[in-house]
Symmetry: C2
Subunit: 320 residues, 2 copies
Amino acid sequence: MNRVLVFGAGGVGAYFGGRLAQAGMEVSVICRSDFEHVRDKGFEIESGAGNMLFRPAGVYEKCTAYPGTPDYLIVTSKVLPDFDVAAHIAPAVGPGTVIVLLQNGIDIEKDIARAFPDNEIASGIAYIGVYRLGEGRIKHQAAGRLKLGNYPGGFISPQVQYLVDKFVEARVDCEAVNDIELFRWIKLVWNTPYNPVSVLSGGVDTQVISKTPELEKICENLMREICQAAAAYGKELPDDIVERNLEYTRNFPAYKTSMLLDYENKRPMEVEAIVGNVMRLAQRKGLCLPYLETTYALLRSVNKINLETPFSLPIEVVNS
Amino acid sequence: MNRVLVFGAGGVGAYFGGRLAQAGMEVSVICRSDFEHVRDKGFEIESGAGNMLFRPAGVYEKCTAYPGTPDYLIVTSKVLPDFDVAAHIAPAVGPGTVIVLLQNGIDIEKDIARAFPDNEIASGIAYIGVYRLGEGRIKHQAAGRLKLGNYPGGFISPQVQYLVDKFVEARVDCEAVNDIELFRWIKLVWNTPYNPVSVLSGGVDTQVISKTPELEKICENLMREICQAAAAYGKELPDDIVERNLEYTRNFPAYKTSMLLDYENKRPMEVEAIVGNVMRLAQRKGLCLPYLETTYALLRSVNKINLETPFSLPIEVVNS
């Protein structure tokens, strides 16, 4: 139970992979964009909790290159409809491999569970502010907590508990939970409003949203719709969750959502994982959620147009 | 009853002003941007119905320069919160002046009615495809109908009937109506969905909207909300109005809405006249219209950000 392969080693993958290496596990990574740099020099992780140099046991461009199969295959790539994670990881998945999905959104496990019906699937949520500074350079900005559970929930397997223990050994605030789905819903209450609204409003940070009453009201209504959808799936979220999320965001420093950063950098946004899936889950229960529907339709189109349109520069800069 | 002053002589003002001149009225214009050109050379209007040179009786930069007062002051400027039309036209409004608001949107008459309580207010809707090609050059592309009525409605004054007759004399399909508000609601059923959605979806034409099921669905839901709001004000719109508007747009050639053109040219969009006012009217009747609220909140923010952000060029163009 010592071999770990991290698939999609961006900020989240590098950080948590590095932690597991600190706990003595043999951590390799699949890493496309910075492959040569990371192979030669590893990851430099800047963190307020102490800088960390993470030299993976192996660095590969593809799972086919990984020797043997890992005990844990931790997926930290984005959830995108055009990106078939199952096909990419299949060559490295052995009979005993636990597949750990450390990704955003809801209802994101089913494709993997269907593709690997005989493997244990774990699902996890990362609460962390971490991003890529440059080649092999990662900035860990804030937090760094994890919740891990089995999918579908209802129990905690020895394999999941072992991984949680390893994280804790590496001083990560990591908790094993019976019902990871509940925490996905709770995280959605923040993600589903603020991420799309920050993009669709023309590109604003969280403070602008909080200070613009009609925008904050849209976020509030989206939160209430998420709570309705969660309730339809038997997850009764606490009564004050909406007010607490609004309050938290008002008091948090101005923050650009990950979706806005993706938008500005013309990277695909996680439209389905964060907005589309929850809308479809709600529709399946007969709910009509107009704020969510509007948000989804507009965001899907904006994402498409954004990826088709070349980068641009302000004319003032061009002429100077 | 022969003196006409057109305030805000863009495409709509130049076209209909020119028509009234053809019917023998003395038509002057207030024209800021192309002032010198129009003063010296008039308007050249290209039209499938026959090209037209319109030399106004007088061309002025401001209403203060207009000699005396007109019988009809026709306002064709955009409806924008920061633009105080009442203050601009006041110097030209005499005791007998009929103020004719030939503008988009709903609930746009009240500020003028309040500012000029003793003047007759007429309200009109133009159904026309017309735009500015360049200095003093106007392209009349399609249609060119008018509906005119008194504000508030319930009757047609001799003054309004006289103006309608003059338009008809100039071969404009112009109708005097008892209840202009009804026609504003009907026009809103198209304007309030397609204008904002074309912008908020990342900038798409009407054909893209019609062919993207989830975007067309948002338009459909917005239409139904407009019908609800209209009904709350005693205007029962025909049952099939939604289906007819969807169908019409599907069969109409790809078309960039005026709001999208304003957005792309970084001109202020008529957010309040076309979206905000109807939302507030609905709220005053206790209606909750989520599609409209979401659209309004996002569009208002996009408009603000768009006007603050400089023009940009695609990097490919910059580097070539």
